[in-house]
Symmetry: C2
Subunit: 323 residues, 2 copies
């Protein structure tokens, strides 16, 4: 079970390697929202999302002999890039298994971070079987995207930074809204804030129709999403909360929030105008909840968890919502 000591140890390993991202705010954004919103800009993290923290934490925690054989990840998105760059910086091999229909730019970026990308056919091939064979043959260590104690500890360093940055601003109580997929970031932040800012409440935000965490928190057991496609927020679509993350969420988090795809696009446009940061839809869902949901306090902190967005989707946000 991840605890604050593991998060502190991860922070020590990340020091000088991951970026301490700024906590941004803007008076005109607050005016638009009707409340004070502070934005933890993880889109400015290396590789463009918080996933680099978890990747670095997990890789740096391996014993050197194991680490030297290399790591593997299954991902077509932010986790792939985070693991690839963390492995490259450690000077070890990374193998990333990606579906052959993944966007070319994501494949190219992952390769540009030095990873060996192995493509598989979603329709005819078994990803887990390919992964198991490769890890066995090459002695690779699988870095899971969220259900791993050291990954959660790495994401939790975001929460340590939020606590310190909020304290420097004199913020003693706030609701912290997280962009929630499998729950690694949410669990890590909740653990860090429990120790470092116990007056804060953590609430996960998810896309409408893909609110497995919210429903799981409400029912007290792990609930699944009915489907896995049909949202712009692809970065945070997961079948269900993790076996390790859910008990942490259940113990520490307030009720889940949701926002629509169009609200996420609107949040992206407001972040463009008032904060001058680039968000992807899944990375804007917490900001969307802070902007458009009602049952929130005067001071809200949100994670802007990723900014790897294709130009067409970004244009859609500007076309619909930027003035």
């Amino acid at each position: 079970m991840t605890d604050i000591a593991q998060i502190e140890a991860a922070a020590a390993r990340l020091h000088g390697h991951a970026r301490v991202t700024p906590l941004l705010n803007a008076p005109l954004l607050d005016a638009a929202a009707g409340r004070r919103i502070f934005v933890k800009a993880e889109c400015l993290q290396l590789t463009g999302s918080f996933k680099f923290r978890g990747g670095w934490s997990a890789i740096s925690a391996l014993d050197p002999a194991t680490r030297g054989k290399g790591v593997m990840a299954y991902s077509s998105g932010n986790h792939a890039q985070g693991v690839a760059l963390a492995a490259q910086a450690h000077g070890i091999p990374a193998v990333i298994l990606m579906p052959s229909d993944a966007p070319q730019v994501k494949i190219a970026n992952t390769r540009a971070y030095g990873a060996e990308v192995i493509l598989y056919d979603r329709a005819t091939e078994d990803r887990d079987a390919i992964g198991a064979r490769l890890t066995a043959e090459r002695g690779l260590t699988l870095i899971k995207p969220f259900d791993d104690a050291q990954v959660i500890a790495g994401q939790g360093t975001t929460g340590m930074e939020i606590a310190a940055q909020a304290a420097a601003l004199g913020i003693t109580g706030a609701t912290v809204i997280t962009c929630c997929g499998g729950g690694g970031l949410t669990a890590g932040i909740a653990l860090a804030l429990q120790a470092r800012a116990p007056g804060f409440t953590v609430r996960p935000a998810e896309p409408e129709g893909f609110d497995d965490a919210a429903r799981s928190l409400a029912s007290g057991r792990i609930e699944r999403n009915a489907r896995m496609a049909g949202s712009l927020c692809d970065a945070i679509l997961t079948p269900q909360p993790g076996e390790i993350t859910f008990p942490i969420l259940s113990r520490l988090c307030g009720p889940g929030l949701t926002a629509s795809d169009d609200e996420a696009l609107h949040a992206m446009a407001l972040a463009f105008t008032h904060l001058r940061i680039v968000l992807e839809p899944g990375g804007a869902i917490a900001l969307a909840a802070a902007l458009f949901r009602d049952d929130l306090p005067d001071t809200v902190i949100v994670t802007a968890s990723g900014g790897n967005v294709d130009p067409a989707t970004f244009r859609m946000a500007l076309d619909r919502h930027a003035t």
Copy 2:
């Protein structure tokens, strides 16, 4: 004459009010450039540009009785917003004189920061006469955009941060490229780095065809631009270097650099993709020079000095250059 002591004093006054902006980098941006580029992201400063620093510095340096009567600025852009928010935070009136054909969004934003906006007709009215009358009637203090010692000192705090952030990254020598209009930011950074990072060279970057600073540095005397319109980089178009700023540039800066509007748009697109920040064309000109000019060392630091861009211009950058 501004010196490091004035910059240090400005830094003390700005502490806790202006944001310490991050120095960003991205492996894939470096790969595109063929050199290491670090980006001082002043687009993330309050009001979206470094101008807030100079506005705050000048206003906070006034004696309280003078300050209480209020301040005035002539500007339709970033200086207007920087002065307006700095005045609002000090609880004093701000009057901003803007041409009546300024974009509505800039007028609205300046008003949203609490300023009284007074519009004048560029064709028929004399801005300086209106300004002189208002300052006399109301006892306002004019905050100049660049040719003022306290404004330069405020912009120079950017240079102090660059020196500290570069040292933390182990960078001992670099060329620092600044987005240069009237030269306030360039002069302030050059003074700060002379004291804090004497191994660094400062070079101003300007739009092609509006390279008054480059030509002035080459000839050793103040040269004017032939025209004042026809560039996307409106934020940094000035008739000539300042009477106060030019002697500092002449003493401390290396040769000027230029980049085209299309190169600025290309730099905006690369900043979108690899750094996830929003830049305006004038705020991207230093990055464009770092990307597309040849006579530069392996490590370059650039100012990304502003991010107040209209959606149509940003779309143009994405349409032409984002993949």
